[in-house]
């Protein structure tokens, strides 16, 4: 099917190969997206941090859309208890690096992307984060802890990148685009991650009767109904694709709260950028990435917890 007949009578000298035209034909005929959108997408590099429930869903949708270059960062290996919500991993993948397996699944679903997707099986750190963010145009936060989320936030502010952030816990999910055209960054809302740290452990679950000695953090952090990350990750990918193809995003300065039990999608307007924000404010105190600004990976170190539960 030559190109002209598909388009609205306009002929395009398109740097898209005929193969790509066929592959993306279903998107190309959409006037709001069209050839320009696909070309912009093809020339955009995306950094996706976190290859868990959110990351699996976001990555496979991004790869399918024809994004130019996709880098996936995660130091974790696949565990059996991940499989029910990390939809692309198989039982025989248990033990392998998540980032590596996810990149494999993505490249086989879309062999056309300009550059093969890259897996970085390392943790995001204050050393590598700025460089990674600088080398990509669109950043997705698919992580599962306060430390990594603030690390990414600070790096995106310091390098001037929008941050498409999603999260999921139990039956709820959230989505917003930070640091985009004047929208808030994470620290505009909650400047001090240390306060959240303690809060995130207790806040999301209260000591149940009879399990006093069991700190909830270890179980709760990962107790999510499996379909929720899949839903939030695909919504996250949609925003990232719109950002990458030059279309208006819907969640800059707006947060979505999804409750899967009631099936409700609550959207509300967020405050503007905070002039006193420690990292994106008018007189920022945070100019580099430093653990002292970032709190710890989880409220009780996993080791201490694992010892307690003798897992």
């Amino acid at each position: 099917m030559e190109f002209e007949r598909v388009e609205f009578g306009k002929t395009y000298t398109s740097p898209l190969t005929p193969e790509e035209v066929n592959h993306y034909s279903r998107q190309l005929v959409l006037p709001q997206f069209g050839v320009e959108g696909q070309i912009k997408l093809k020339n955009t590099s995306v950094l996706l941090v976190g290859a868990g429930g959110l990351g699996c869903s976001a990555a496979i949708h991004l790869a399918g859309s024809g994004v130019g270059q996709l880098t996936i960062v995660d130091h974790d290996r696949i565990e059996a208890s991940n499989l029910h919500r990390q939809i692309l991993y198989r039982s025989e993948d248990v033990g392998r690096y998540k980032a590596e397996v996810l990149v494999e699944r993505c490249s086989r679903s879309n062999p056309l992307s300009r550059m093969a997707p890259v897996a970085l099986c390392t943790a995001l750190t204050t050393e590598n984060c700025l460089e990674l963010v600088r080398n990509h145009a669109v950043i997705l936060d698919c992580t599962d802890n306060v430390y990594a989320r603030y690390l990414l936030n600070d790096a995106c502010v310091l390098r001037g990148r929008a941050l498409v952030s999603a999260s999921a816990l139990k039956f709820d999910g959230q989505l917003t685009v930070y640091n985009h055209q004047g929208s808030v960054c994470r620290r505009c809302l909650f400047p001090d991650p240390m306060a959240l740290q303690a809060q995130s452990c207790d806040d999301n679950g209260v000591m149940g009767p009879g399990t006093q000695y069991l700190c909830w953090c270890f179980v709760r952090h990962r107790c999510t109904h499996h379909a929720v990350p899949g839903i939030m990750g695909s919504l996250q990918a949609m925003e990232a694709i719109k950002l990458a193809s030059g279309m208006a995003v819907s969640f800059a300065g707006v947060q979505l709260h999804y409750d899967s039990l009631s099936g409700s999608f609550y959207r509300f307007k967020l405050r503007p950028r905070n002039p006193d924000c420690p990292v994106c404010g008018d007189k920022p105190s945070i100019r580099t990435l430093d653990d002292s600004h970032l709190g710890t990976n989880t409220c009780w170190t996993r080791q201490e917890l694992k010892a307690k539960l003798d897992l």
């Binding site: 599962d144 816990l169 306060a195 959240l196 809060q199 999301n204 409750d259 509300f268």
Partner: protein
Amino acid sequence: MPPRDIRVEFAGGVELLFDNQKQLDIPISKFHDPSHPAKENLTYTVRDLLQLLKDRYLKQRLELFLQGDNVKPGILVVINDCDWELMGGPDYELEPGDRVVFISTLHGG
């Protein structure tokens, strides 16, 4: 929701501190505090609401909901679909039919 009431909602885990209730309709009359008869004016602010929630509705671990007379960091307060920072924060004067939602920010993934 009866027109004279304030619709209060909890989400993202905050509901666990309120007996797992996601929604409360609080009549304005509940704000009247007999111990402060002087407080004749009928306008109440979100700060008063926090006080009322603390005294009458909170079931679990106060320190997970409040810090001093403000909400704990990590909890967003949304008034009629807007971040309360856009509405004057704790000093926003409540009107019947207003909807106030307390949403805990999620970090899981």
